[in-house]
């Protein structure tokens, strides 16, 4: 199935952490003996923390947001958040994992961020991007080399 998902432009992002979580259950027989079973996708579920040290709301740092035109970096990210976690609820988008160099489907974990909290989160602990899966859609995609070429 082919579905177009908006792609998050990650120019200038700092990837703090990539993690993976499996789904399984474990039985302990004592003294270190045990047995487990995988009860979810064996590929697990990835998540990333992204921080942006400087998020200028200045025309000096515009990026091309495609159908949304040229936007300041702050405006782009705020609008992106609003489109995916306000106007929609955890709407899925495409996200390029710099580690595996593959595009994943993902959403933003944080909810109910207001303007100040959004800025604070992005600058300090970072936004949490979670891997998502959509029925019938193959994800992740193939390996694609992307340069993060607009670091500030």
């Amino acid at each position: 199935m082919s579905v177009d998902f908006e792609k998050l432009i990650t120019d200038g992002f700092s990837f703090e952490l990539a993690s993976i979580k499996g789904a399984g259950l474990f039985a302990s027989y004592g003294d270190g003996y045990g047995e487990g079973a995988v009860i979810g996708n064996p590929d697990g579920l990835l998540s990333w923390k992204i921080k942006v040290s400087a998020l200028p709301d200045s025309d000096d740092y515009l990026l091309n947001a495609g159908e949304f035109g040229l936007q300041t970096r702050f405006q782009y990210l705020w609008d992106f958040y609003a489109r995916h976690n306000v106007a929609q609820w955890h709407k899925v988008f495409q996200f390029h994992d710099p580690l595996s160099k593959k595009d994943f489907l993902a959403d933003i974990a944080e909810e109910q961020l207001d303007y100040q909290l959004f800025c604070l989160t992005v600058a300090t602990v970072g936004l949490t991007i979670r891997q998502r899966r959509v029925h019938g859609v193959e994800s992740p995609g193939d390996v694609v080399e992307v340069e993060n070429n607009q670091e500030i």
Partner: protein, 738 residues
């Protein structure tokens, strides 16, 4: 090792899974598993699988397996359903919690209501095996809200709380209209033969449309005549009130038939094997007084519903303990569309109902006909299906006294039974059970002599109890499990002695380094084993069993055997109360279908020693419970014998574990995939002495020490009463004179 219900392909996959589980314990790849709940919504919605995720995306092999059937992610993730697997007639239920924010499940439930079939599967993607774990039917929602549809699914596809038999004395037709059935085989199993919708020749077309009828109100004989051309299939108990003239030497009188069916509150009975049937259901009667001056020359005509049909024979009727002469009665065996009895000219033929039509001579003008005591000897149903293979069409219908095939008959029969689909049963089990019941075993007769006879037979009257009770009692007296769900089928096994090879092959569960891999869960924090043990107090453990049976030698009257006592256990019961005397803890059992004292005594002794369904008696009074992982519990089922090794079961003084083998009572799969196993001790030595075909079970002889009122050890002696006076309402006995 019992035969498998799985296809050859699935069995190979299960074997591969077993190998995978073993490899996983030796650092191989771990087992992957996903839970699916299949709901078979009636047309047009059909089968839908529910899971905690789009598992068919994760494992494309599952998508192929489901062959286009919808899979919706609605279950809670990270946990599995809490499944208790006990017997197929228990009240067990499974709580379902489905995401329903789109209201789709609620809509489906509102459309189709309760009773939707639910089946729970495990899918093992590494071996592409879809394994049925449980099946039941949907019950109404409880505490459902706008996000979650919470309901339960109850064990089995029909409620076991239904009466069995279940045909009530209603005066409208109770047959399922043939046009509502989709095959000739189904029609043949039911009572209405209409098959025009299938291109058959039975039945008429709807004159309004020129097409086959699609429905029937089933409320009048005319509705039946309109569709079938006659009312011989009208399955009701409606009396046709009719008056007619009775000629006498001097004039005539008018006799009127009277219906009694509205007084009949219990369902029509079913007769298995041979029985003398008493307390017959009076359908109609006519009191005839030919000559008012000589009422003693009158008579009464009685029409009784004896039992469900079709029976092999009805003979030797009696009224008030006097044989009814052949010229004064006629019978119908209860065939479908049988001819009417001639009770009156327009009397109902009572299709599928065995009938006794009798005439008694005398003055019955002031007699309540329901007070006339009538009985008849019946050789019961001759349409018991005996299956030759797993093919549900490969059967013969016959008269049978075989407990195994009768058990299946009660489950399967569409009119009076539970109406279960025979494809849900593993028919080989019933063939095996039938063979086991037919084995000759030794009995001790009450006089101490030993005879051999089949292990179990079935000559019973089924009436006025729930299916749960009937099935429980059929199995209890036959010493087999009640049917239980396992790997998608209802299985039933004899509670028999295992061979040496079978004992050696019993799966081992252990919680310490006993030489076998550990597989009993220990608490991660404390390291304590989850194995616990318990025993029934001697003060409560039955040590005096009173069984009753219907003695074939005494016209099938209910006869109690002398109490089957255990003196040692009664002394232990006394000690439990702190004294040195004997204390009888009595329990009574009616052995359904047992008609010989030898068989009754044998079953009674085994109940005393092993308990009901071998779940706790004098010889196996130890019950254990432990947790294991689901991978270790996959092959466990009710009655399976396992070997359990635990330090906590070893007597440290002797260094001996009293019981090593245990029979599984039930399993419960917890949401974290741990399986809680409850098992009862399996006393190997005891079984060896009692289940050998040539060795009789210890006799149920009267206890020589038991002499109420006498001194211990005294023989009972006759008592001569000095005086006995009989008055109108009492008997006065003088016990002693001094």
């Amino acid at each position: 090792m019992p035969a498998t219900t799985l296809s050859t392909d699935d069995q190979a996959k299960l074997d591969a899974l077993t190998a995978l589980i073993a490899a996983a314990r030796a650092a191989g790849p771990q087992v992957q598993v996903v839970e699916l709940v299949a709901a078979t919504w009636p047309a047009p919605d059909g089968l839908v699988y529910y899971a905690s995720t789009f598992a068919d995306d994760t494992w494309p092999s599952l998508k192929a397996k489901l062959a286009g059937t919808t899979l919706e992610p609605r279950l809670n993730g990270g946990q599995f359903l809490d499944l208790t697997r006990d017997s197929g007639i228990s009240d067990d239920s499974v709580s379902l919690d489905l995401w329903d924010a789109d209201h789709k499940i609620s809509d489906l439930f509102e459309t189709h209501g309760e009773g939707v079939r639910i089946e729970i599967f495990f899918y093992f993607p590494q071996v592409d095996l879809l394994l049925s774990m449980w099946f039941g039917h949907l019950r109404p929602p409880t505490d459902a809200d706008e996000e979650r549809f919470t309901a339960s699914a109850e064990n089995g596809f029909m409620s076991v709380l239904l009466p069995l038999p279940r045909r009530a004395f209603f005066n409208t037709c109770q047959a399922v209209f043939g046009a509502l059935l989709s095959s000739q085989a189904e029609i043949d199993e039911h009572d209405c033969p209409y098959n025009r919708h299938l291109g058959g020749a039975t039945g008429l077309l709807d004159p309004a449309t020129g097409l086959p009828f699609t429905s029937c109100p089933r409320n009048t004989r005319q509705a039946c005549i309109d569709r079938l051309g006659d009312s011989l299939s009208y399955l009701s108990f409606d009396t046709v009130i009719q008056s007619y003239s009775v000629q006498a030497t001097h004039g005539s009188t008018i006799a009127t038939s009277r219906g009694n069916e509205t007084n009949l509150k219990r369902p029509l009975r079913v007769i298995a094997g041979k029985r003398v049937v008493r307390d017959l259901d009076l359908l109609e009667y006519v009191v005839e007084i030919g000559n008012p001056d000589h009422p003693e020359r009158g008579s009464i005509k009685l029409l009784y519903a004896v039992a469900e049909g079709r029976n092999r024979s009805l003979t030797s009727p009696k009224a008030n303990n006097t044989a009814i002469q052949p010229q004064h009665f006629s019978v119908r065996v209860g065939a479908k569309r049988q001819s009417s009895t001639g009770f009156t000219t327009n009397v109902n033929n009572y299709s599928s109902t065995a009938l006794l039509n009798a005439v008694l001579q005398g003055d019955f003008s002031k007699v309540d006909p329901s007070q006339i005591s009538t009985e008849i000897t019946v050789e019961g149903l001759d349409d018991v299906r005996v299956y030759a293979s797993e093919d549900p069409t490969d059967f013969v219908e016959q008269y049978s006294q075989d407990r195994a095939w009768w058990l299946l008959h009660a489950y399967r029969h569409k009119r009076w039974g539970l109406g279960s689909d025979v494809r849900r049963f593993f028919l080989q089990d019933f063939r095996d059970l039938s063979t086991w019941f037919a084995d000759s075993v030794s009995y001790h007769n009450p006089d101490g002599t030993v005879t051999t006879a089949p292990r179990s037979t079935f000559n019973a009257e089924l009436i006025d109890r729930t299916a749960q009770q009937q099935i429980n009692d059929i199995c209890l007296a036959g010493r087999c499990t009640v049917p239980f769900p396992f790997e998608g089928k209802l299985r039933v096994f004899p509670l028999k002695k295992l061979t040496t090879d079978e004992l050696a092959a019993a799966p081992v569960f252990t919680d310490y380094d006993s030489g076998y891999p550990r597989n009993i869960i220990r608490d991660e924090q404390t390291g304590k084993s989850t194995l616990t043990r318990s025993a029934t107090s001697d003060a409560e453990l039955p040590n005096s069993i009173v069984v009753t049976y219907n003695d074939a030698a005494q016209d099938y009257k209910e006869i109690p055997l002398p109490p089957i006592d255990s003196i040692d256990q009664q002394l232990r019961a006394g000690r439990a109360f702190g004294d040195t005397g004997r204390r009888a803890v009595e329990k009574r059992y009616g052995l359904l279908g047992v008609t010989t004292p030898g068989e009754a005594a044998r079953v009674g002794v085994l109940i005393r020693d092993l308990g009901e369904f071998d779940e706790g008696g004098i010889e196996n009074n130890q019950r254990i419970k432990f947790q294991t992982f689901f991978t270790q519990g996959l092959g466990l089922y009710k009655s399976k014998v396992i070997r359990v090794l635990s330090r906590s079961l070893i007597n440290t003084r002797t260094g001996v574990q009293r019981f090593e083998h245990f029979r599984v009572r039930s399993t419960r799969q917890l949401p974290n995939l741990l399986v809680e196993v409850s098992a009862q001790a399996y006393p190997v030595a005891y079984y060896a002495t009692t289940e050998d075909l040539t060795a009789p079970v210890a006799p149920a002889v009267p206890d020589p020490l038991f002499n109420p009122g006498g001194d211990p050890g005294d023989r009972p002696r006759p008592v001569i009463f000095p005086r006995i006076d009989v008055t109108a309402d009492q008997i006065i006995v003088e016990m002693a004179r001094s």
